[in-house]
């Protein structure tokens, strides 16, 4: 153990140390690059807002969905101002709280959408916390790992830049920029989810439940984040995940009570704001029953446009259960690593949800630098990045050929959608595999030997 750098041992002594200490140090040293990054990001966005491209981007089906389109929010606002229910007319599908929020800040809409920045800051802070946490955990468990695994463990020096990288990944990701310039309300959802993860990792149970409930209220799907949140909080409070323990059940009851309670409050609040239950079918019915088959980057539209009407309900259930179902096996497999579980869940949601946009993808992609220690186990980086790149450029081209030139048809566009989603799935499963493999190596050593002494390789079958 003499090879261990001194600071790790230091940390061990101080454990549990206050995360904000490291945070302050980070903020002081990283302030300059971070400010530069923020200025750059704001400049890009402001320039695009002012250019003629903004209008074009706001129309793109890849960037805005029927739920998040700003045009629809404006329509809803107009209806609200006229004293009509914003949900009459089947145009507006955002939640009541959103419309009341914009009712007050509509003049500052652009600034509101700079919320991206806020999200990033949260992310940055978040990854900072993560790195503190991992450091501590590492220090605790270092004794247990075989010696040759040391190269698997990230040295704090590498981890040091991660928050900056996360900020960069989110702020300069073209997907984020597009969805921000299109004023998609997806930015708000992302902010809420980021705040949820932030408060969870800070260990604040109440805030975590409240933000999770806000996220669920916005788009239902974040419901599945319940599991990783509880797992993480329990890990933090040293509550074992054991079905026979009363403390386990007590914690779950507590968390669910907070979560459901705030959900109840939100729903009632929406009801009292609008004075009707109109919004229920119009928001949640719209998300779950997928009546709008406008093409997007998801899997639903083509499938349901082609389907015979009497199979619709069945396949609707299949498709929707698909989103939620992965929670169970993933939680079982990753119960020791709830943060990775959150990442996986976010990715699964953004791939399989009914109206995905590129903004959703940007959210989970912001996490990728956090897993930079998995790079050496990733196998399909080249393939996946090539396919994602090619698909992103082919979307507008095939859209043009289909809609404007009339020479291609929907099959071309859907083929690219499929490819795009396959690449995403490959990306996520690659990360999952790499994570599991790293765990395996941490337990059994990096250089595996067969029984006869020759070098062994791990094969996933």
């Amino acid at each position: 153990m003499s090879g261990l750098p001194g600071f790790l041992i230091d940390d061990r002594l101080h454990f549990p140390s206050c995360p904000s200490q490291g945070g302050q140090r980070f903020l002081v040293e990283m302030a300059a690059p971070l400010t530069l990054l923020l200025v750059l990001a704001v400049t890009i966005r402001a320039a695009l807002f002012r250019s003629s491209l903004a209008e074009l981007i706001a129309e793109r089906v890849e960037v805005v969905s029927p739920i998040t389109a700003w045009k629809r929010v404006v329509e809803g606002l107009a209806l609200l101002d006229l004293g009509v229910s914003p949900y009459s007319g089947d145009v507006f599908h955002e939640t009541p709280l959103i419309i009341y929020l914009f009712h007050f800040v509509v003049d500052y809409a652009e600034i509101t959408f700079m919320l991206d920045i806020k999200t990033t800051l949260t992310f940055t802070d978040l990854s900072l916390m993560l790195f503190q946490f991992r450091k501590q955990k590492f220090a605790l468990e270092a004794d247990r790992y075989p010696l040759d695994c040391l190269e698997l463990i990230r040295s704090p020096k590498e981890m040091y830049y991660i928050p900056l990288k996360v900020a960069m990944f989110y702020l300069l990701n073209p997907f984020t920029i597009l969805s921000c310039v299109a004023k998609s309300t997806c930015g708000l959802n992302n902010a809420v989810v980021a705040l949820f993860i932030f408060s969870t990792i800070k260990g604040n149970t109440l805030l975590s439940a409240i933000f999770l409930c806000l996220a669920t209220y916005q788009s239902i799907y974040p419901l599945t984040l319940c599991a990783p949140a509880m797992l993480y909080l329990m890990q933090r409070q040293y509550i074992p995940v054991n079905f026979r323990r009363a403390s386990f059940w007590w914690f779950i009851a507590q968390y669910l009570f907070m979560y459901l309670g705030s959900l109840f409050v939100l729903i009632c609040l929406s009801f009292f704001l609008l004075g009707s239950w109109d919004y229920m079918p119009s928001v949640y019915g719209f998300i779950l029953s997928v009546p709008d088959l406008t093409p997007n980057i998801g899997l639903f539209w083509y499938f349901f446009a082609e389907m015979f009407e009497h199979f619709r309900l069945f396949f609707l259930c299949v498709f929707q259960i698909n989103v939620f179902f992965y929670t169970i096996p993933l939680s079982v497999k990753l119960k020791e690593h709830p943060v990775f579980l959150i990442f996986m869940q976010l990715a699964v949601i953004s791939i399989f949800k009914s109206y995905p946009t590129v903004g959703d993808i940007a959210l989970y992609m912001a996490f990728l630098p956090v897993w930079s220690h998995l790079y050496r186990f990733l196998r399909n980086t080249f393939l996946v990045s090539c396919v994602l790149l090619a698909c992103s450029t082919l979307f507008p081209v095939l859209w043009h050929l289909w809609i404007y030139a009339g020479s291609a048809n929907s099959n071309f566009y859907y083929a690219i959608t499929l490819l795009f989603n396959v690449a995403q799935i490959l990306l996520v499963s690659d990360y999952f595999y790499a994570f599991l493999r790293r765990e395996h190596h941490l337990t059994y050593g990096l250089y595996l030997k067969r029984k006869d002494g020759s070098e062994a390789t791990l094969v996933l079958k």
């Binding site: 090879g3 040759d148 040391l150 190269e151 040295s155 020096k157 590498e158 050496r376 196998r379 399909n380 080249f382 090539c386 790149l389 090619a390 450029t393 082919l394 081209v397 095939l398 043009h400 050929l401 404007y404 030139a405 009339g406 020479s407 291609a408 490959l426 390789t457 791990l458 094969v459 996933l460 079958k461």
Partner: protein, 620 residues
């Protein structure tokens, strides 16, 4: 999925691909070219057939009788045209009204960004005249267009005469279910652009035109007629439209079917069909026809007045009468019957033409090559880029030799890999070459006045020469710049840059080939070998020469000569050079007048991408 998850098999495959990279690339290139040349071989092509049920048989009776009178009207039109030395608007309005049409006119004016020396025009003012024959049998929600351009000089008078003759004849028939619009457009494509923009309430190019007073239904199909003699030997079909867009193949099938039925000789690219496909000359004839189509499509310009309709989702073609020295002549009555037959079939349409192919190449009028057959030729070229990229990726990602003392070693390697200098050394050339591209796009038009003041050249020459100057200046620029920022370029640096450039080129060419196959293929033909062989370690002078030869500008130069060769009108080098200059000015004009995308594509994307490879060659 075995390949994705089994590390041993993956390693074997990647080893194979990296070890045999160069031979595989050469084989792919040759296979791609061979595949493309094979497309014109008749057994490999499909016979055309009518897909649209509503136009299934040619069982209509054509009765158009008055070809002679149409020719006489054409002469009258010519006389009036000469008298007012331009479009005889009043006469046309009066004549159309006399034939029972609803007649309207549209004025338009357009100042070109610089004078067009080919057609000798700068400030264009004109009037379109069109008459609508209202459909007696249906609710007038759909329309067909027959247009004839009014061109200066003695050209095309017969086309206007025949158009008026057909209008008179059609007026007396009762079976029309779609409005038929008879349009005589002034100043060919500019007038057509004004009319189409007016009809669809759009304004994409900033032209001034008066709004249309009368309108028919949504236009389903359009034919443009070009006829300059009283009798013709054959009819030629022109399909290539703006940005290489083609009308639905059924329109070509319709033309071919009626030509067969009525017994008119029909050609495409001015080439008759031959039956001796198994002989060398027969095959080379087919190749020539197909290559002509490829060259025309790649140019991205509309090759007839129909070319602008395609943008509005309207299937359109130009039909051209050709009078050569052949014995067999066709008179105006027969051409009228041909058009009557086609319009009666189009009149039967229940929905827009959509059944048949939109992506095709035609080695002859009766045979076509569909997208599924020609895309592999491009795919074989594009896969070279991906193979080279994979090779580089493997070189970049080869794990460093691991020693016993884990951490320190890794950190060193990581440090060498550390992203910040890498990102800068890639980003700088990228940004600079794109700025050069932007300069190539903007400067020629902006600086023409200044150039005219200081140099003894005309505006058009100024524009073209500025473009060439910027292009050449760009060659001197980028390879000196990265040193400003990052000092010495590293071995890693150029590999990363080349990887980025290869993927960029692959995506760029892929997208281009989807929109305009011919352009994508021709660019791939020259750019792919350039992209594949360039490294900083090849002999500098020779490679620089090869790279310049393979650059987009030289590709264009070769294309000009090749096109002349294909048309059997070879030119001397000097004439070829002048032609090259005029092609550049036409390309720029096409962009500003009609929105052709070739010039911005080359200037803003292809040229910067090529500059990246130039940059890699001079990496220090």
């Amino acid at each position: 999925m075995g390949l994705l998850s089994d590390p041993n098999r993956r390693r074997a495959l990647i080893n194979l691909l990296t070890r045999l990279n160069a031979p595989i690339c050469v084989v792919c290139y040759m296979a791609g070219v061979a595949w493309f040349m094979g497309l014109a071989f008749e057994p490999f092509t499909l016979r055309t057939y009518m897909s649209e049920n509503a136009m299934g048989s040619t069982m209509v009776e054509e009765r158009f009788p008055s070809g002679e009178r149409a020719v006489a009207t054409g002469r009258e039109f010519a006389a009036h045209k000469k008298k007012v030395s331009g479009m005889p608007v009043e006469w046309l309005v009066k004549t159309m009204q006399a034939r029972g049409l609803e007649v309207y006119t549209q004025r338009f004016s357009r100042t070109l960004p610089f004078p067009d020396e080919n057609k000798e025009r700068y400030m264009v003012k004109g009037t379109n005249v069109y008459g609508i024959l209202r459909a007696p049998r249906a609710p007038r929600t759909e329309a067909l267009v027959l247009s004839a351009p009014c061109t200066p000089g003695d050209n095309n008078n017969q086309a206007v005469g025949l158009l008026l003759g057909l209008a008179q004849y059609f007026r007396n028939q009762i079976y029309w279910a779609k409005d038929i619009i008879f349009l005589v457009n002034d100043h060919d494509l500019i007038g057509m652009q004004a009319w189409l923009e007016g009809y669809h309430h759009t304004n994409t190019t900033g032209m001034d035109w008066s709004p249309l007073q009368g309108r028919g239904g949504s236009i389903q199909a359009a034919l443009s007629l070009e006829l300059s003699s009283d009798v013709v030997t054959s009819m030629d079909l022109v399909l290539e439209g703006l940005n290489g867009q083609l009308p639905n193949l059924d329109l070509a099938n319709l033309f071919y079917a009626f030509c067969q039925k009525i017994g008119v000789l029909c050609t495409i690219q001015g080439k008759l069909q031959r039956n001796d496909w198994d002989s060398v000359s027969g095959y080379s004839h087919a190749v020539q026809t197909m290559m002509l189509m490829v060259m025309k499509q790649a140019s991205g310009r509309p090759w007839g007045d129909h070319g602008l309709f395609l943008r509005y989702h309207i299937e359109a073609a130009t039909i051209k009468g050709i009078n050569s020295f052949r014995q067999y002549k066709t008179d105006a009555t027969t051409i009228g019957r041909l058009l009557e037959g086609m319009y009666r079939k189009l009149n039967n349409l229940l929905e827009r033409l959509h059944q048949s192919y939109f992506f095709y190449l035609m080695p002859s009028l009766s045979h076509f090559v569909s997208i599924g057959y020609y895309m592999p030729a491009f795919g074989l070229l594009a896969v070279i880029l991906l193979l080279r990229a994979l090779d580089l990726w493997v070189q970049l990602a080869t794990p460093p030799p691991t020693t016993e003392d884990g951490i320190a070693d890794i950190e060193q390697v990581r440090h060498a890999h550390s992203s910040s200098p890498g990102v800068l050394s890639v980003l700088t050339p990228l940004v600079i070459s794109h700025l050069t591209g932007a300069a190539l796009y903007m400067l020629p038009i902006r600086f023409q006045e200044m150039a005219v003041e200081h140099f003894p050249v005309s505006e058009t020459e100024a524009v073209v020469l500025t473009a060439i100057a910027v292009y050449t200046a760009g060659l001197a620029l980028p390879h000196n710049t990265h040193r400003l920022l990052s000092g010495e370029g590293t071995e890693q640096g150029w590999r990363v840059l080349k990887l980025v450039a290869l993927l960029y080129l692959a995506v760029l060419l892929g997208c281009t080939a989807l929109i305009n196959f011919s352009l994508g293929f021709i660019l791939a033909l020259t750019l792919v070998p350039a992209a594949a062989f360039v490294t900083p370690h090849v002999p500098k002078v020779l490679s620089a020469f090869v790279l310049v030869i393979l650059s987009p500008a030289c590709t264009l130069l070769f294309s000009v000569f090749f096109f002349q060769e294909l048309q059997e009108m070879p030119v001397s080098f000097l004439d070829g050079w002048l032609l090259y200059l005029s092609v550049i000015s036409q390309g720029i004009l096409d962009h500003f007048l009609y929105g052709s995308l070739v010039y911005p594509l080359i200037a803003l994307l292809v040229y910067p991408c090529w500059l990246l490879f130039w940059n890699i060659l001079f990496w220090k």
